[in-house]
């Protein structure tokens, strides 16, 4: 009998929970999917960032590979989880062509449905989403666009990805809220947060972030809690705003950000904008104008 969408979704959610369990990733925390593939899964999966207009590829080889196309970083995160889905479900090598925003819906493909659902629940399991809202004193079912954006940053996924997951995947947001979530665009949210001080790309990290690291691209604004300091100011120089200290990521590399009272710290791992290369080298320090 052909499995229904509900059967497929259940299978995907179960598999996502199994993967988290196998690698000791708490169900209430975020996961870095690039690190999961390259450092935790055995045998390791080689992850390559490519300058090719595609979503991604999964290569079922003796040493499996995931190739991520030229997309915004948050989309690259989701696509890596999607390709990991092909791996854990034992699918064959797959090429996922570029999906233009607003393109007509494609015919239903059970394998693609399963791995998309897997990716969503690996990155944003129900418990982690609920926890991300409640630890901040918010309710997922009453999420505002700004809250949804901040929580999406904590998972490393795009705002629209989390908004869609809240509305259609987890179905925790009712009709009246969903319109506001799905229709609000990022520039509006950024402007609401920082007024005139808005970079084109922005990530917000607060004290409730569950990962010890944040992956970010050069040229992105990183809004951290007020008074946060960074060790390497050549990598990220900050200034105060009404919502915290805004750092502009100037070059790739790794540096520590911390609160002066010693109660909080995070590793900022900066990679070039639209990085091309192996995932394991993405955070290496690079000087301006260094040979390519």
């Amino acid at each position: 009998m052909t499995p229904t969408r509900t059967d497929l979704a259940r299978r995907a959610v179960t598999k996502a929970a199994e993967v988290r369990d196998r690698f000791d990733i708490p169900l209430n925390a975020a996961v870095n999917v690039f690190d999961l593939c390259t450092e935790h899964i055995a045998p390791a999966i080689t992850v390559r960032f490519k300058d090719i207009s595609m979503e991604g590829m999964y290569l079922r080889e003796e040493r499996p590979e995931i190739w991520i196309g030229l997309r915004p970083l948050t989309r690259r995160v989701f696509n890596c989880a999607h390709e990991l889905g092909h791996h854990v479900f034992g699918h064959g090598s797959t090429f996922d062509e570029l999906q233009a925003d607003g393109a007509a819906e494609r015919p239903f493909n059970p394998d693609e449905f399963v791995v998309n659902t897997f990716a969503a629940h690996l990155l944003m399991p129900r418990l982690a989403v609920a926890s991300a809202f409640t630890t901040r004193g918010w309710k997922a079912e009453e999420a505002t666009p700004e809250q949804c954006f901040i929580v999406s940053c904590s998972f490393g996924v795009g705002y629209e990805t989390l908004a869609n997951h809240l509305v259609y995947g987890l179905q925790v947001v009712g009709r009246s809220r969903s319109d506001a979530l799905l229709k609000t665009r990022l520039p509006t949210i950024r402007k609401g947060l920082l007024e005139h001080d808005t970079p084109d790309r922005l990530t917000v990290i607060d004290h409730h972030h569950t990962l010890p690291t944040v992956d970010i691209e050069v040229g992105t604004g990183l809004l951290l809690p007020a008074n946060t300091e960074v060790e390497n100011q050549e990598l990220a120089a900050g200034h105060d705003t009404v919502r915290g200290r805004l750092f502009q990521i100037a070059r790739s590399g790794v540096t520590r950000a911390y609160s002066p009272d010693g109660n909080w710290a995070i590793l900022i791992r900066a990679m070039p904008h639209q990085y091309v290369g192996l995932a394991r080298y993405r955070h290496l320090a690079r000087e301006d104008g260094e040979d390519d």
Binding site: T46, R48, F49, K50, D51, I52, S53, M54, M57, L59, E61, E62, E65, W67, G92, S93, T94, F95, E97, L98, Y275, V276, G277, L278, Y281, R282, L284, R286, E287, E290, D291, D292
Partner: protein, 116 residues
């Protein structure tokens, strides 16, 4: 150009291509290989030969096959090969430039006889 020189040029160009695909600068590679940066530049310009041990170390660093780095096989996969067509049905939607990059990268990681 002698056959030996031709081979040297192919190896040099594949080393450069593989380094760029790995996302490394010549400085990164020099540091990891214990070589001077100008040496990497000389190797990639085809002015200095590489030993078999060095070639293996480059292949490990770049995660590509040693045989491809050594100049064996085609620079890129044949898009009409059965295996490629079977696995990737939607490749025709890529631009010529993207398809070229993809097939080159696929050739670079393809294991051949003798590869570990």
């Amino acid at each position: 150009m002698s056959e030996q020189n031709e081979k040297k040029k192919i190896i040099a160009s594949r080393l450069r291509e593989a380094r760029k695909m790995a996302g490394l600068t010549q400085g990164h590679v020099a540091e990891r290989m214990g070589l001077h940066r100008p040496t990497i530049s000389e190797i990639e310009a085809g002015n200095r030969s590489v030993t078999a041990e060095e070639l293996t170390a480059f292949a490990d660093l770049y995660e590509v096959s040693v045989s491809w780095l050594a100049g064996e096989g085609a620079a890129k996969l044949d898009p009409h090969a059965d295996r490629v067509q079977l696995a990737f049905r939607n490749l025709e939607k890529l631009s010529e430039k993207d398809l070229d990059k993809l097939l080159t990268a696929l050739a670079a990681i393809k294991k051949q006889k003798g590869d570990k």
